[in-house]
């Protein structure tokens, strides 16, 4: 891959109307790695992703891509470097898979430029990478949840960005499809060096698949680093307000969090 892009937030404050969601947050996304953002509900994970991709303007501080403020970067130019897949996107009724994936080419096209061979190739490559070539002329409506998520990821791939931000790419998927999606993202990261930043609900899958874990609490970064270094019972208590014990995952060796509730604890 070409030069690795750096993405960072500096004293970033973002809010909606009278509510401040992010308060002077600082973070750095390691280039070429997989980063997972975890945290309790409503701690600002989605807000962080949305402000990093220019959808929300900061009240203070800034998001820097290669040292340049994303909010002063033209939208299309940014969209050629950084892609975003929002949480549970809704496809237009009756759209085919190929058509949907093709819409990822938008930032590469001008008002008058025609659809080119390289667009076709990007779409075909994205379909192949996600194992959805067979689905190309199917209606998105007919697909299963797992297939549909693969197709959305294919759309993000057709955008051919070196940074890919995903908001809960595994929501509403059963566990086998969750693993399938995370494996797919790992493939992309390893084969193309794509920097991946994803918000994940499942702390244990985040710990297994991420190289870098960012735990948010109260609109700021509570801890960041390799999962094995940052994920312990203290972090879970501080971020989720939950007692737990953390052991080594017998499958991967990454930290595995086992919650301790009021019942069934020994």
């Amino acid at each position: 891959m070409t030069v690795a892009h750096t993405l960072e937030a500096r004293s970033l404050s973002v809010g909606y109307q009278d509510r401040e969601v992010l308060r002077g947050l600082d973070l750095r996304i390691p280039p070429g790695r997989i980063t997972a953002i975890v945290g309790a509900n409503a701690c600002g994970k989605s807000t962080l992703l949305r402000s990093m991709s220019r959808l929300l303007a900061p009240r203070a501080g800034q998001v820097l891509l290669d040292g340049k403020a994303v909010h002063r970067t033209p939208a299309k130019q940014l969209a050629r470097t950084l892609g975003l897949l929002p949480q549970s996107p809704v496809a237009p009724e009756g759209i085919t898979v190929a058509d949907l994936v093709g819409r990822g080419r938008h930032p590469h096209q001008g008002v008058l430029t025609r659809w080119r061979t390289e667009d076709d190739e990007a779409v075909a490559a994205a379909l192949e990478a996600t194992g959805s070539v067979e689905l190309a002329d199917r209606d998105v409506d007919e697909l299963s949840g797992g297939q549909r998520q693969r197709v959305w990821i294919a759309m993000a791939l057709a955008q051919q960005t070196e940074l890919l931000l995903l908001d809960e790419p595994t929501t509403f998927l059963d566990v086998s499809h969750q693993v399938e999606v995370l494996d797919l993202l790992t493939d992309l990261n390893r084969a193309r060096g794509t920097t991946i930043v994803m918000v994940l609900h499942d702390l244990n899958l985040a710990a297994r698949y991420a190289d870098h874990l960012i735990a948010l609490a109260d609109g700021a970064v509570h801890a960041a680093g390799a999962p094995a270094e940052v994920l312990d019972a203290g972090l879970v208590e501080a971020v989720f307000g939950l007692r737990s014990t953390v052991i080594a995952d017998p499958v991967s060796g990454s930290p595995l969090m086992l919650p301790i509730g009021r019942h069934h604890s020994g």
């Binding site: 959808l55 969209a79 009756g94 190929a98 096209q109 002329d137």
Partner: protein, 349 residues
């Protein structure tokens, strides 16, 4: 674990992607052929049927006097029907795309009625006469009512849902209609002018009217067609559209302006005509799918065909009199509207 292939894709995948284009071109050719037949019928059929040889003779400047006279009024009439139908078809497709609402249509959303009210008010107060004046006023009225209906439809929880927008449009249409009646009733002097414009449909077509509204239609069409790819992005939702580098608000306003100019100018030329903008895009989606780069040109061709065909039908069913084209499209369009609403889910486009 499979690894990801990098670089060019296989020919099989590329071939799979190319196939829809051929189907779409085929359908386009088919609808152009249908359009040509309808145009021929529109010039031939009427209170006095003109056989094809006589049409050719009349177009060449000769032929029997009565045949030539019939052809001379039917040619501009046909052209007007085509132009207005195309404008309404594209306008409906763009409105459905901008609002992500399958029920959007310049008639249902009350935008045509807003244009009508503006024209009628203009006739009553400052005595509008030319088609250019009609067009300016109609576009202003259409724009204002688009903003009003969208604002009303967006109030409350859940934003501008399809049904709320349709209800806001219906209410606005009712209010505007009564305003129009209130303006016209006490004014015997303008009654005939308003009536001849309002129910004139395409029957009273004149070349000078056509040339006066043409600039508005051209600008509206260019804005609409230029928005095709933006509409494709907007269809994915605002977040994704923005993530793809689309300036969402600007794209919406540009596309909406194009749609409003088209339906405003069409209303100025032929009076309010409902349902074409609703039915045509749905029909075209069945043929070519949801890609606006195909959908918009298709909607133009099919809209032109539908309105011209409705006009011919109106001349046949009520012979030797004529049924206004707006009435025919309503009869054709209302069942389609009901069918769309009754579908399992009225989802966002």
């Amino acid at each position: 674990m499979t690894t990801v292939p990098v670089g060019t894709a296989s020919d099989a995948a590329a071939e799979r992607l190319r196939r829809p284009t051929r189907v779409r071109l085929l359908w386009f050719a088919a609808s152009l052929a249908a359009l040509a037949l309808i145009v021929a019928a529109s010039v031939a059929i009427g209170s006095r049927d003109v056989p094809l040889p006589a049409i050719v003779a009349a177009l060449g400047g000769g032929g029997d006097g009565l045949d030539a006279a019939a052809v001379q009024t039917r040619v501009p009439r046909t052209v007007l029907a085509l132009v207005v139908g195309a404008a309404l078809g594209v306008s409906g497709a763009v409105m459905q795309g901008v609002t992500r609402n399958p029920l959007a249509d310049p008639g249902i959303l009350g935008i045509n009625q807003g244009a009508s009210l503006a024209i009628v008010a203009g006739i009553a107060t400052v005595g509008l006469t030319s088609a250019t004046q009609y067009a300016w006023v109609a576009i202003a009225g259409a724009a204002v009512s688009a903003v009003v209906v969208y604002t009303i439809g967006s109030l409350g929880r859940g934003g501008a849902t399809p049904l709320k927008l349709a209800l806001a449009g219906a209410a606005t249409t009712a209010v505007f209609s009564s305003f129009i009646t209130a303006i016209v009733l006490p004014r015997n002097d303008i009654n005939s002018v308003v009536r001849s414009w309002e129910i004139g449909g395409v029957g009273g077509a004149r070349w000078d009217v056509l040339t006066q509204v043409a600039p508005f239609l051209v600008v509206g069409l260019l804005l609409s067609l230029g928005s095709a790819r933006a509409l494709n992005s907007l269809a994915l939702g605002d977040d994704l559209a923005a993530g793809l580098g689309e300036r969402v608000a600007l794209a919406r306003i540009t596309a909406a302006l194009g749609a409003v100019m088209l339906c405003g100018a069409a209303t100025a030329a032929a009076g309010p005509i409902a349902f074409v903008g609703l039915v045509v895009p749905h029909l075209c989606r069945l043929l070519v799918g949801v890609d606006h780069r195909w959908l918009l040109p298709y909607s133009a061709v099919v809209g032109a065909a539908l309105l011209a065909a409705s006009d011919v039908l109106g001349r046949i069913v009520a012979r030797p009199a004529e049924l206004d084209v707006g009435i025919v499209t309503a009869v054709v369009g209302a069942p389609v509207f009901i069918a769309i609403v009754r579908r399992r889910k009225v989802r966002e486009l």
